[in-house]
């Protein structure tokens, strides 16, 4: 009996081991597939540049050396930090305003009915259209850029919070009242956990928007950051290697932010 049991348990262990191995193999295969996609694209890019040597556009190697050049001069860290700094401020402000505002609008449907048309009219106005006004209000500098990022991020967060609260099932609210919860407990113990999944999705969208907007804001309103790097590299001697380097950095960092938010979403 005991031998049988042991054999069975060892077989079970082998199965588990295989499963782990399998999942690891699957994960490696997925990663390889993604990487090979990027590699193919880079190869095609090199090939295209090699076939048209006269073009002003840089190849991947030249872009890489551009990044290294920026890093060596300390500009890489400076621009990246400048952009992230503005995004952080604009985004944090948007979260601080958007979540409470959205929660209130979702809870008091009448307030929503009053404010919603205004928000819907604001929504199609690109945050970039605010650049002249924000420079008028805040001058050329971080304030203007932060304001534009805030505008870009606050609407998706507000709308997500409003919809999330409106979607809290009434049975949950009634159950909470039945168990004698006061309004503060109701907010903390029922409404907040109930809206959180939808809210995080909205926050992820908003962070994406904020990152899109920062580049444009920096092209006009300030003299640092990745957006400024791109414009400056073109103006100061057509350094298209640095232009493309800036673009690649924006893409990679944006992807990183999204991955981070998605991780948050899962927990």
């Amino acid at each position: 009996m005991r031998v049988l049991a042991r054999r069975r348990s060892s077989r079970l262990r082998a199965q588990i081991f295989e499963a782990v191995l399998d999942s690891r193999a699957v994960r490696t295969r997925k990663l390889l597939l993604s990487l090979s996609g990027v590699a193919t694209l880079v190869a095609l890019w090199s090939l295209a540049i090699a076939l048209h040597p006269a073009t002003i556009l840089p190849g991947p190697l030249k872009v890489l050396s551009g990044v290294v050049d920026l890093a060596r001069r300390g500009l890489l860290a400076r621009h990246v930090v400048a952009s992230l700094f503005r995004v952080t401020w604009g985004y944090v402000l948007a979260v601080l305003v958007g979540i409470p505002l959205g929660l209130c609008l979702g809870w008091w449907r009448r307030a929503d009915r009053a404010v919603n048309p205004f928000l819907q009219i604001l929504r199609p106005i690109s945050p970039l259209a605010w650049i002249p006004i924000s420079i008028l209000w805040f001058g050329v500098g971080d304030g203007a850029a932060v304001f534009i990022i805030f505008l870009g991020a606050v609407l998706p967060i507000t709308v997500a919070a409003t919809n999330a609260v409106a979607a809290v099932p009434s049975v949950h609210l009634r159950a909470a009242r039945n168990f004698g919860l006061g309004s503060r407990e109701l907010l903390v113990r029922v409404i907040f956990p109930s809206v959180l999944p939808q809210l995080i999705v909205g926050m992820r969208v908003a962070l994406g928007v904020a990152w899109l907007v920062v580049v444009a804001a920096e092209m006009i309103a300030v003299n640092s950051g990745l957006g400024f790097l791109i414009v400056d590299a073109r103006n100061a001697g057509n350094r298209y290697d640095l232009v493309v380097a800036g673009m690649v950095l924006i893409g990679v960092i944006g992807y990183g932010l999204d991955v981070g938010m998605r991780r948050l979403e899962r927990t």
Partner: protein, 255 residues
């Protein structure tokens, strides 16, 4: 309308007096009178949309009636109260809390150890051992319904209101849940008002079945179910009682 004899001499727990309800131009309830005695299980049945859920919501304190009043232990009902818990269909469980977290929901004012003891007791009572840390998404409909019942019982209410609690479950699970409910009630006697559209269910569970008329609903008839538990679902008395309710609702029990 309360004329029919009640089976026990227990004191009156819930007194519904002349309750009327209108929603705009629609008259839903007209002069409903009903007494529920302590420890009694009363089922409300009636055609769908007749207002039996509305009545339960008024008794539960979620709606204020347009007229008349509900008294519990002689006190008029002014709103929902933790001494009287409403059990919804299984979608009432909180999806962000585990089974334990849901059952402990109404116990936040108790010290941690006592809470844990009560939760463990009810996890066992409703047969969810091994699922205490599971989230509702991982549970079947019947299991979620058990969580709801446990969450309600954990706060030691004297009254339970059940609004078609098993309505969303498949027929096999529903039958199991009914016998589970009766088993649980033997451990903890409660006064219960149970809304159902399932006549069989009402005859299997209730001490009395209140048949409501079509809208505007009144109490049309009260049937005493004088059958001991466990009930034999093929006994002539059971069938006679069931058929009398079908008849009262105006349904020929033939297809």
């Amino acid at each position: 309308m309360v004329a029919e004899a009640v089976p026990t001499r227990a004191p009156i727990k819930i007194a519904i007096r002349g309750v009327r309800m209108r929603f705009g131009a629609v008259e839903v309830l007209r002069d409903v009178d009903l007494d529920v005695r302590e420890g009694e299980l009363v089922c409300l049945v009636g055609p769908s949309g007749c207002g039996k859920s509305t009545l339960l919501n008024i008794v539960g304190g979620f709606f204020a009636p347009s007229g008349g009043e509900v008294r519990i232990d002689g006190e008029p009902v002014r709103g929902p109260d933790p001494r009287r818990i409403f059990v919804f269909q299984e979608r009432g469980v909180f999806p962000w809390l585990t089974v334990e977290g849901n059952i402990a929901f109404g116990l936040s004012k108790l010290p941690r150890e006592e809470r844990a003891r009560i939760v463990a007791h009810y996890v066992e009572l409703v047969g969810l051992e091994g699922f205490a840390r599971a989230f509702p998404d991982e549970l079947s409909g019947g299991m979620k319904q058990r969580v709801e019942v446990a969450r309600a019982l954990a706060v030691k209410p004297d009254v339970l209101y059940l609004d078609e609690p098993f309505g969303a479950l498949d027929s096999i699970t529903r039958l199991q849940m009914r016998s589970e409910l009766l088993r649980i009630l033997q451990a903890e006697k409660k006064t219960m008002l149970f809304v159902t559209h399932d006549i069989e269910e009402s005859v299997q569970l209730a001490d009395r079945v209140v048949v409501m008329s079509t809208r505007p609903a009144t109490v049309q008839r009260i049937v005493d179910i004088d059958l001991p538990h466990p009930r034999d679902l093929s006994s002539p008395r059971y069938l006679a009682l069931r058929d009398s309710i079908f008849e009262a609702i105006g349904l020929a029990h033939k297809i």
